[in-house]
Structures are given as structure tokens and as C-alpha cells.
């Protein structure tokens, strides 16, 4: 049994790892590792970077093709896609958000990791509405780029 099947928490080792250069342009991290019958992310990708062997296979992102456009973030039914962009000491994380209190651009919110622990503050840079899902981009220290996955407004 894999650890995440017991805890529900993915580790970075379970995920595809982009290169430094790929992080610099911004890429989508697909935190969807199980074989589940679902493929809207494949259809949503304008550059056909996301692919799947069949509908049950986990999606794979071609980081070379990925342009970090964030379209897949609001589409994913599992709310499991995050776009990460890193430049020097700053990281921008784009994440899906479906709670009542919607943050505004310029707000400082709490940055939470994969177990909901507050790891610091985040500055809200962008909020885009995708249906009822908010696609929020926050700015954090680059050391937290692969840890922060939620916000508390």
C-alpha cells in the first residue's frame, strides 16, 4: 500500500518534477496519481501538453509544451491541478478555491500546506472566476512553492 492511500497526502516523490527552467516559465503540476476514469484536463489544454493513455490512466504533463496558462486548474473536477511559477526567491501558485469568502487581489491570506498547516502568509495576485470555482494566484517565498496547496481567507 502506498502511503497516500493511508493518509490522503501526496508527497513530492509521487509527482512529476519539472526542471528549474520549466518552473521559471510556469507549469501545471497534476496532483492526480491514481487510475480514475476522468479526462477533462486533456481537453482543456490549448497546447496539448496534457495526455492520457486511456481515460483511466493518470494524466501526464509534458512540461516542455506546458505554457502554465492555468486553464486546467478551474476545469479539473478533483481540484487537483496547481500551476507553479518560480523566479529567484518568489513563487506564484495558482490554485482552485471553492469557499464562501473569496479573496481579493492585494489581500494577504494564510498559506496552508497539504495537511492544512499554516506555513506563512501569501499575497493574492489574481482571482479568476471559472464557473463557481475561483482560480486564485498567490505569491509566496520560492521555498514554499511545492508545499503550499491551499489558502485561508
Amino acid at each position: 500500500m502506498r502511503q497516500y492511500e493511508k493518509t490522503g497526502i501526496l508527497s513530492i516523490k509521487d509527482l512529476q518534477a519539472p526542471s528549474k527552467k520549466q518552473f521559471e516559465k510556469g507549469v501545471a503540476i497534476l496532483e492526480c496519481v491514481q487510475e480514475i476514469p476522468c479526462n477533462p484536463c486533456v481537453d482543456s489544454c490549448p497546447v496539448h501538453a496534457i495526455s492520457m493513455k486511456d481515460i483511466n490512466a493518470p494524466p501526464v504533463n509534458d512540461f516542455e509544451k506546458c505554457i502554465g496558462c492555468t486553464k486546467c486548474v478551474g476545469v479539473c473536477p478533483g481540484l487537483a491541478i496547481f500551476v507553479i511559477k518560480i523566479k529567484a526567491n518568489t513563487a506564484w501558485i495558482t490554485l482552485p478555491y471553492e469557499f464562501v469568502t473569496v479573496p481579493k487581489v492585494g489581500d494577504v491570506v494564510q498559506a496552508l500546506d497539504r495537511i492544512g498547516k499554516v506555513r506563512g502568509k501569501a499575497l493574492v495576485k489574481k482571482v479568476v472566476k471559472y464557473g463557481k470555482t475561483m482560480v486564485v494566484t498567490i505569491e509566496v517565498n520560492s521555498s514554499l512553492a511545492m508545499s503550499i496547496r491551499n489558502i485561508k481567507v
Binding site: M1, Y4, E5, K6, T7, G8, I9, L10, E31, C32, V33, Q34, E35, I36, P37, C38, N39, P40, D43, D54, I55, N56, V75, P77, G78, L79, A80, E98, F99, V100, V102, L112, D113, R114, I115, G116, K117, G131, K132, T133, R149, N150
Partner: protein, 486 residues
């Protein structure tokens, strides 16, 4: 307490409807059921145990169990969890077995309906079956017990998985709307008749056609219809399972689906602090929706050593700080008249409680998400063969790949034919609807039938489809035997 702010659902303030509970005035809202209005006013105890003095609340919330029977305007045994609230009604608790009232049960004489296909249940499977049959040109009557059509889709606020054909990425509540629009269009063209607030009570003797009794509720009384049809599709859904532990009948111990109905359909908070039992997809999804409604989820306990639902659902909860404890279960509920807490216990590799591992937690609501059982009582009454298939959730009707049971012209679809997902229920509904139309000479489109079967196979191909795949393989094998013997 009402939910006024919600990220997905727009809960508008609705018209107030005053009514009486035990002679005391309470104000509900238009669109409420009697039970949801009572719950919003803080009334959780609806009845008492027939055997003991213990108080009881509702459990299933969708008219499947008898945990919410009350007397309304003198009419006993009204299922208050699905009975619509009306202004000025008198709602009373019954004393044990209800007294037979001096009332006119069948207010109006029976009416006759003649139709090609009768569909029982207007959930995802039933709606798709009705639409498919009607599009092939056969006449359809669809009957559902609830005020609204859509079955359990009307409370699914999350986006569905699957592929484009199954409307992946669309929320269940929006799929319900799309299906209802299609249904109403066919209704306006007189291709489908729709009866809500109505129950198919049984199959009766008939020379040629199938004959069913259908009871439509009106002012908490009943109007009887005599329905004749050439084929029937049973898409009656399923009921949530109960779990054995001390205090499991205390008001506040609900099915997870019941809580989902209460908050997402009626906008009523089930409680303030919830313990979820079961980490399958239902337990995980409902837990997240509780958070979205502003309710605290203390934790999720799961008896199995691993999380049964999708990791993406579990991950959403974990990053909100909700703990998921595998190899843990509930031992007992604490509280006299209502839930005040629970004792949890750790389980060993053989699922046996570990001594001295008990932990007390505070909560006012306990949700059970421990599986579902197919609703097959009507199938059984018709005389359809049923077999026990654990992977399907219990007794189910062996059916062929057209969803036809051992009785010619009797079809099943959706959870009633084995527990699975809404996406597969919709395809099964299409298959049953099309197959019935072909059987009645309304269509010859066997190619489309093959395409639907192909889609169904794809959805079941992954590891999460293993259980239904095994169930359906067993069902197919049994169907060969059963059908050959007819």
C-alpha cells in the same frame, strides 16, 4: 439553522410557511419538506422507537426508511423527509404504532393510464431511460416519490468525473437541470408524462400488459392510478447502510447522503460539528461539502486500512486540515436524547478493536457513509429473480447486457441494478430505455446500443471500477442461467 452563504449554491430567501408541530407554531420555507423545516427549527426528534422509549430522527432523508413517520393533518405514517411542507398543516408525533384514522384515504376514484414504458424513479438512470425511450417514439410515464426529479443528482454540488459524453466537469446539480430540461421538453411534446410525489406500490394481475398501482400524494392523502404498460424500467436507486454500534439510532446519526440532501437541497445545517464514518467517495465528498456549508468536520474514520475513495477527494480535505484516520471506527455514541459525542476505537489488521485505544471526541452529528444497498423490493414483488452479489451491494436482479431481467419486458438500471456511480447509471438508463424501445418496435438502432455498452466498459476499466466490474460479470453469468430457465 439555515445556510445563507454558499460558494456553489444560491440559497435565496424563500417565502415563509408557518405550520404547527405538536400544536406549536413553527415557520418553514417554501420548498422545504416537513422534516427539513423541523430540522431548521432545531427539532431533530421526529418519532420514538416502536420497541423502546428511545427518540428517533430521520436517517435516510430520501423516503427509503421509516425513521421519520409522523401524523400530518390527521393522516398517519407520512414520510416527513419527502413530504412537502404546506402552510398551516398540523404535524404531530405518533404514539408507537399509529391509530387508523377515521379519514378518507382515497379521496378520488382511481384513474387509468395506458403507456408503452413505465419508468420507476427519476434519478440519473430513470431520467436517461425516459428520455432515450421517448426519443425513439414510444410513450413513457416516469414516476418519482420526491417533489423534484433528478434523484440524488440534485444534491451533488461537485463536478463529475468521466469523459465529455458523461458530462465530465459539470456539477451534478447542473446535470440534473440539463436532464430535467430535456425531460420537460419531451413532456411539452406529450411524449413523456411525469408524476412526482407518487409511488409505484406494486404489480397486479393483468391479462396482457403489465399492471401497476401508482399512488399520487395530494394533501397527504392518496390518489390511486391503474397503470398498464408493455415494459417497465426499474431505476429505484439505493438506500444507505446502517452500522452497528451503541446509540446508532439517536437523533443526529444520519446517513451521509441524508445530510447532503438536508444541506444542499434544503439549505439546512445538519449540525455544527460532524464526525464522518467511512472514507469512500461518498464520505469524502460529503465531508468537503460540509466544509463548504460552513460546518466543522472533526475527522473522518475509516475501518479499512486504506482510504477507499479517490485520493483527489481525500487530498482536498487534508489541505483544509481535516484528519482522516484509517483502521479506526466508531464504538459508541454519547448523549441521552441527542448526539453529544462519540467514542472512537483503533482497529487491528483483522479489523478487531484494539484494547485501550478508545478516544472520545465531541460532535453533534454523525454521518454514516458505509455503503449502499440496492432498492429491489418492487423487482422482488414482480417475481424477478434476485441473487446476492456482495460486490453489487446486496440482492440484485441478474440482467442481460440490455439491462433486461429474468422477466421479459422488466428492465433495471442504475444503483438498483448494483451500486455504482451516477455516470454509469446514466449510461445504463440509456441502454435500458433504448432496449425497451427496440423490444416494443419503436427503434432498430442496435448500433447505438453497442456504442453505449462500449462507453460503459470504458468507465469500468480502471482499478476503481474493479468492484462493479466483478459484480456485473457475476450478474451476466447468472443472467445466462436465469434467462435460460425462463
Amino acid at each position: 439553522m439555515r445556510i445563507r452563504a454558499h460558494p456553489i449554491i444560491d440559497f435565496k430567501k424563500r417565502k415563509e410557511l408557518p405550520f404547527y408541530f405538536q400544536k406549536k407554531k413553527i415557520v418553514g420555507e417554501e420548498g422545504d419538506t416537513i422534516a427539513s423545516a423541523l430540522h431548521a427549527a432545531g427539532v431533530r426528534t421526529l418519532t420514538t422507537s416502536l420497541k423502546y422509549e428511545s427518540p428517533r430522527g430521520f436517517f435516510c432523508g430520501i423516503g427509503k426508511c421509516s425513521s421519520c413517520l409522523m401524523r400530518v393533518n390527521g393522516v398517519p405514517n407520512v414520510r416527513t423527509c419527502i413530504a412537502p411542507l404546506e402552510e398551516g398543516i398540523q404535524v404531530e408525533m405518533q404514539e408507537k404504532l399509529a391509530e387508523l384514522p377515521d379519514a378518507d384515504f382515497f379521496g378520488e376514484p382511481k384513474k387509468n393510464i395506458d403507456v408503452d414504458v413505465l419508468i420507476v424513479g427519476a434519478g440519473p438512470a430513470g431520467l436517461c431511460a425516459a428520455i432515450e425511450s421517448a426519443m425513439q417514439g414510444v410513450s413513457v410515464l416516469i414516476v418519482d416519490e420526491n417533489q423534484r426529479v433528478g434523484g440524488q443528482l440534485i444534491k451533488q454540488t461537485h463536478k463529475f468525473f468521466g469523459s465529455k459524453q458523461e458530462r465530465a466537469g459539470t456539477r451534478g446539480i447542473d446535470i440534473a437541470k440539463e436532464l430535467e430540461d430535456d425531460l420537460r421538453k419531451l413532456e411539452s411534446e406529450r411524449k413523456i408524462s411525469v408524476m412526482t410525489d407518487a409511488t409505484v406500490i406494486g404489480c397486479y394481475e393483468s391479462d396482457k400488459k403489465y399492471r401497476f398501482g401508482v399512488v399520487e400524494r395530494c394533501d397527504y392523502k392518496s390518489v390511486l392510478y391503474d397503470v398498464r404498460c408493455n415494459a417497465v424500467i426499474l431505476a429505484c436507486g439505493a438506500m444507505e447502510n446502517m452500522l452497528l454500534f451503541l446509540g446508532n439510532d439517536l437523533p443526529g446519526v444520519y446517513g451521509a447522503g441524508a445530510v447532503q440532501t438536508l444541506m444542499n437541497v434544503y439549505g439546512v445545517m445538519p449540525g455544527k460539528r460532524v464526525l464522518m464514518v467511512g472514507a469512500g467517495n461518498v464520505g469524502l465528498i460529503v465531508s468537503y461539502q460540509l466544509l463548504q456549508a460552513g460546518i466543522v468536520v472533526d475527522r473522518i474514520v475509516e475501518a479499512a486500512p486504506s482510504i477507499g475513495g479517490y485520493n483527489v477527494h481525500a487530498a482536498k480535505l487534508r489541505r483544509c486540515g481535516v484528519l482522516i484516520q484509517t483502521s479506526h471506527s466508531i464504538k459508541e455514541v454519547c448523549g441521552e436524547k441527542k448526539v453529544e459525542g462519540a467514542v472512537l476505537v483503533r482497529l487491528d489488521v483483522n479489523w478487531k478493536p484494539i484494547k485501550d485505544s478508545e478516544e472520545y471526541i465531541k460532535c453533534d452529528t454523525i454521518c454514516l457513509a458505509v455503503g449502499l444497498t440496492p432498492s429491489t423490493r418492487l423487482l422482488s414483488q414482480i417475481g424477478v429473480h434476485l441473487d446476492y452479489i456482495p460486490e453489487a451491494g446486496g440482492y440484485v436482479a441478474p440482467h442481460d447486457e440490455s439491462m433486461q431481467t429474468s422477466v421479459k419486458g422488466v428492465y433495471v438500471a442504475g444503483d438498483a441494478s448494483g451500486i455504482e456511480e451516477a455516470s454509469t447509471a446514466m449510461i445504463e438508463g440509456k441502454i435500458a430505455g433504448l432496449a425497451a424501445a427496440i423490444q416494443l418496435g419503436g427503434s432498430r438502432n442496435k448500433k447505438l446500443l453497442a456504442q453505449y455498452r462500449e462507453e460503459l466498459g470504458q468507465l469500468r476499466a480502471g482499478p476503481f471500477g474493479e468492484k462493479p466490474r466483478i459484480a456485473k460479470e457475476k450478474i451476466a453469468k447468472l443472467a445466462e442461467v436465469r434467462h435460460a430457465s425462463v
